[in-house]
Amino acid sequence: MEDNLLVSFWPHIQMKDSISKIMWTVFMCLVPAGIAGVYFFGLHSLLLIFISIITAVLTEGSIQLIRKNKITIYDGTAALTGLLLAYNLPPTVPFWIPIIGSFFAIAIAKQAFGGLGRNIFNPALSARVFLLLSWPTYMTAFVKPFGSADTISSATPLSILKEGEKTLSDIGLTYMDLFLGRRAGCIGEVAVFLLLLGALVLLFLKIITLHIPLSFIFVLAIFSWIFDKQGLFKGDVLFSIMSGGVILGAFFMATDYVTSPLTKKGKVVFGIGCGLLTFIIRRFAGYPEGVSFSILIMNAFSPLIDRIFKPPVYGKK
């Protein structure tokens, strides 16, 4: 029996959970919003999603092969990055956009830093910003739901608002349209209702907590309400929350484990930062939407936030 006995440190039992289970759960919780996106924007979006995921997984696998690392393409992390990148693309971009994007996300933003857990910035968002800066025309050309790719580009509600001083009804939309996703926007961000449903499942399964999304959305809403273009306390709160990528960003991207703080307090601070920056970019900067930039900027602060907001240690006052 002697040679057969395994010696290792405690604990000798573990919770039945794994990285891949978590990642695939998040993936599944995002699927309904993607289906809605395909329903609104057509088959082209579906192909974009597939291409994005496949590129991400292949890139991850080949790099691991080259670096002689363990192949972990089945754990869902690369697939999730691919999915999230596709969700952040306008529905009409050419097919090479997600290929370059996913390659950038995995090769540059993730593997170049050492792979899973070691990256500083959210890979999908890094790739989206890279694409936005490199091919702004493609990345800002949106269409209305149920319009074909050939139809004249339509602006997102946020960019319409940025142009002139209009209200929701001037654009010809209702809150219900925003809630259900009947508006121009990125593939995965429009179906607010389904995103919230997915987020609810993640909250219920304790995969994510409310700390980041709530503080993010709350701060953005408050600031949008108070400091509106039309005067103090005149902002449209619901519009500010549902018109852009906030729901997708706050619940599914800002909560990315690797790039967000570890402690509850830290998460709240992180969320507040995201909300504030999103507001500032929307209100004062050149871009109509600022969710991606805000999250990426806050990603850089995560280690610092962890250092400052440590939980109270037992017996240390």
């Binding site: 604990p11 000798h12 039992i13 857990g117 109270p312």
Partner: protein, 430 residues
């Protein structure tokens, strides 16, 4: 704190059984403190319960023979926590010969607290919850103490020895508590039991109702791991925190395990030194997992055979609970005073040693009962940034193993943390 999957059902309804080994290997060190020196030599005949090793020191505990018979050898032998240590090997003649006589109720009443402490020292009693700190030292606190907490939490999965003891020896445990109370002159006495042991709670309620004792408080804990940690108990019951690096004395509290209370009862009333204890032998490998009153020094293999036949070849044998127990390299290792259980794992239950890189999910941070950031500790240890580990309070870690339990990346958290502690200690000494 976390609710852990239920495994106590394997043995919780099994009454304590006795097992007598044919040969015992009694290590000279089974406690926290100075190792003892043998008082006997090979070839000597010893009685059951005869003191066979002791040393004059402030913190130590004498060792007694757990059988009657001839001493075969005094030699280096396997040790559950130290790897190897000197042990006295006694061959059991099966007579259980002893010269000790129990005390009369009157005699016990007339003992002064000094005499009580001496009796408890001479009986070799140490903390039976697993830490093994000599009990008489804890009965003579350097600071005034006003509260005694009796720890019946038994929060480790699989283990049911304390539970069975609470159920079967309720009155004796209370007598033991009375003796401790006499030594410490404490006003507040709490008996803490987790709510997953309703029978034990009822047993104590009943026993206390029929006794003249009125000032004991039964404190029912939620069954979370690591609820039974000394510091966690104090925080939970008294809303006080033991200062970092300090001991329960510092907040006027002493904590004793129920099994220790029972051992004190036996030592004083029955004049019986600590040569046997209740342990749980469990695991799905075993056909008949049991709670066993086992002699100190019994090789684990004998106990496993007693619970057999084996359903499959054991792949891991753990002494203690599955959360904080120590994996053994051999089944010849003997049972010592601090052994609370023997868990036998089969091939399918053994955890893979493979781990992923930390994904910073924050679960360990969320659940750490001390408020540490184990993720950062493990990462700083992995990159050998020991100073960072210190900055993140690595020395406050109680090594409960909960971070490793909840980790989805299956990281060897305790190993990382322990190596950081070891390296830092080594560097400081230098």
């Amino acid at each position: 704190m976390v609710k852990i999957e239920k495994t106590k059902f394997l043995t919780e309804h099994k009454p304590i059984e006795r097992f007598i080994p044919s040969t015992v290997y009694i290590p000279l060190i089974q406690h926290t403190g100075k190792p003892t020196l043998p008082l006997v030599k090979a070839g000597d005949y010893v009685f059951l319960g005869q003191k066979i090793a002791d040393i004059e020191a402030n913190i130590t505990a004498p060792v007694h023979s757990s059988v009657s018979g001839k001493i075969k050898a005094i030699q280096t032998y396997h040790h559950p926590t130290l790897g190897g240590a000197t042990a006295i090997v006694v061959e059991n003649d099966g007579q259980d010969k002893t010269e000790r006589l129990p005390l009369k109720e009157e005699e016990v009443k007339n003992l002064t607290s000094k005499e009580l402490r001496l009796k408890i020292r001479e009986a070799g009693i140490v903390g039976l919850g697993g830490a093994g700190f000599p009990t008489y030292v804890k009965l003579n606190p350097p600071k005034p103490v006003d509260t005694l907490i009796v720890n019946g939490a038994e929060c480790e999965p699989y283990l049911t020895g304390d539970f069975r003891l609470m159920l079967e020896k309720t009155g004796q445990i209370i007598k033991g508590i009375e003796l401790i109370a006499r030594c410490l002159e404490v006003k507040n006495i709490y008996i803490a039991i987790e709510d997953n042991k309703p029978e034990a709670i009822r047993a104590f309620e009943k026993e206390l109702k029929s006794s003249p004792i009125t000032h004991y408080k039964l404190h029912i804990l939620k069954s979370y791991y690591p609820q039974g940690g000394e510091k966690q108990l104090i925080k939970n019951i008294l809303k006080k925190e033991v200062p970092s690096g300090g001991l329960p004395f510092d907040v006027g509290v002493v904590v004793h395990n129920v099994a220790t209370c029972f051992a004190i009862y036996e030592a004083v009333y029955l004049n019986k030194p600590l040569y046997e204890r209740v342990i749980t032998v469990s695991g799905s490998c075993l056909t008949n997992p049991k709670n066993i009153l086992a002699r100190i020094g019994t090789p684990i293999r004998d106990l496993i055979d007693f619970c057999g036949p084996l359903k499959e070849r054991p792949r891991k044998i753990v002494l203690g609970g599955p959360m904080m127990g120590v994996a053994q390299y051999t089944d010849e290792v003997p049972l010592i005073k601090t052994t609370t259980g023997v868990i036998v794992f089969g091939e399918n239950e053994v955890l893979s040693l493979e781990e992923s890189f930390c994904i910073r999910c924050g679960r360990c941070v969320k659940y750490c009962p001390v408020g540490l950031m184990p993720a950062i500790l493990s990462l700083s240890s992995q990159s050998q940034n020991w100073q960072l580990a210190k900055e993140y309070n690595v020395f406050d870690c109680i090594e409960c193993g909960l971070c490793g339990y909840v980790c989805p990346a299956k990281r060897n958290m305790v190993q990382y943390i322990k190596s950081a502690k070891l390296v830092l200690l080594k560097n400081e000494r230098r």
